[in-house]
Symmetry: C2
């Protein structure tokens, strides 16, 4: 009983309580190093109780991801109210994507980095990660409509940009030992290089 007092915890919110504890522990210690028993101990329940709220360990992280990426999609969307310049929207959306990934490295790893066979059956199509990508693509289409880009192939440009920002995000998350130049400078460089590369 090292965690919160179960008396005061609203039982209907136990599911969320599990997710919160698990998320913090996944981030702090890594998915593989967090056991069901550890999570259970943290919230003051037995390990098997978790199975009343989640199918298995992977389901926990999957639900965390959906919640987190719903927020990413939301963030990217709301950021775009702040400007009228489509290219500026694109820039800030890309920045939001990268910094969101760095802020939630465990979730990013599981959704975008971890090889498929390990993941759950749900396809990328149905995830909030897909929603985030679609938002970015619509901004790209705005840029094309404004004749700001050198090509009309919105899908190609969107995937090109996504490849770039996914690259810098995943590299910064995974290869922490690499002697990178200053982080923010590198992120800016990637984004500016990409935007310069697609501009008309």
């Amino acid at each position: 009983m090292t965690g919160r007092n179960r008396q005061e915890s609203d039982k209907e919110n136990l599911r969320q309580e599990i997710m919160d504890a698990a998320r913090e522990m996944f981030v702090a210690e890594g998915y593989a190093n967090v056991s069901m028993r550890k999570v259970a101990r943290q919230i003051g329940y037995s390990a098997t109780t978790i199975y009343l709220y989640f199918k298995d360990k992977n389901d926990i992280v999957q639900q965390i991801c959906e919640q987190t990426f719903a927020r990413l999609a939301q963030n990217i969307k709301s950021i775009q109210q702040l400007s009228d310049n489509p290219l500026e929207k694109l820039r800030s959306g890309m920045r939001e994507y990268v910094y969101f990934g760095l802020k939630h490295p465990s979730q990013y790893e599981i959704v975008f980095i971890t090889p498929l066979p390990i993941k759950t059956e749900t396809a990328f199509e149905e995830t909030n990660g897909r929603v985030a990508f679609d938002t970015m693509r619509s901004v790209v289409n705005e840029c094309i409509a404004a004749k700001l880009l050198k090509t009309n192939d919105g899908e190609l440009v969107s995937q090109t940009l996504w490849a770039g920002i996914h690259g810098i995000t995943s590299i910064l998350i995974q290869h922490g030992g690499f002697p990178f130049v200053e982080r923010e400078k590198l992120i800016d460089s990637v984004i500016e290089t990409l935007i310069t590369g697609i501009k008309a």
Copy 2:
């Protein structure tokens, strides 16, 4: 004794035999789903024998990474004898990197994609990965010397380019149900976008 006949296997090559088996299994089933006992069964030895050749499970994957890094570095180096134009060297080096990844997806996945649960203690400075990266950076420096780029920060440019080509490579390898545009077209788009973005 499901694996190779241990009689015919050269004992001095047992270390390599372990690495080969482990690499294939890591990629096929994921690092977490491959146990020491599985690897041992595959090669026809007991699990503990592996500990005579590797410190622990993580060490196996670490050694696999070093081998792959070495081959990539070799390939990128030899490619650059084929041209005198620094920008063209850069382009072909990047292409080699991406296609190396696509040609050896198993090795690339292990080195650059598969999330490793435990952080590496060995400094990046001492790895073959550093050699591969340095090769690319030296070409970037050639471009700078020829005043072909808009900046003099070779380190920044190199890391920017690496982020981009790693992004497209890892995304294509995982091809997780995402409706990509034609593969070669997308690769060209990423590389040309990056090069256009850094050119003077």
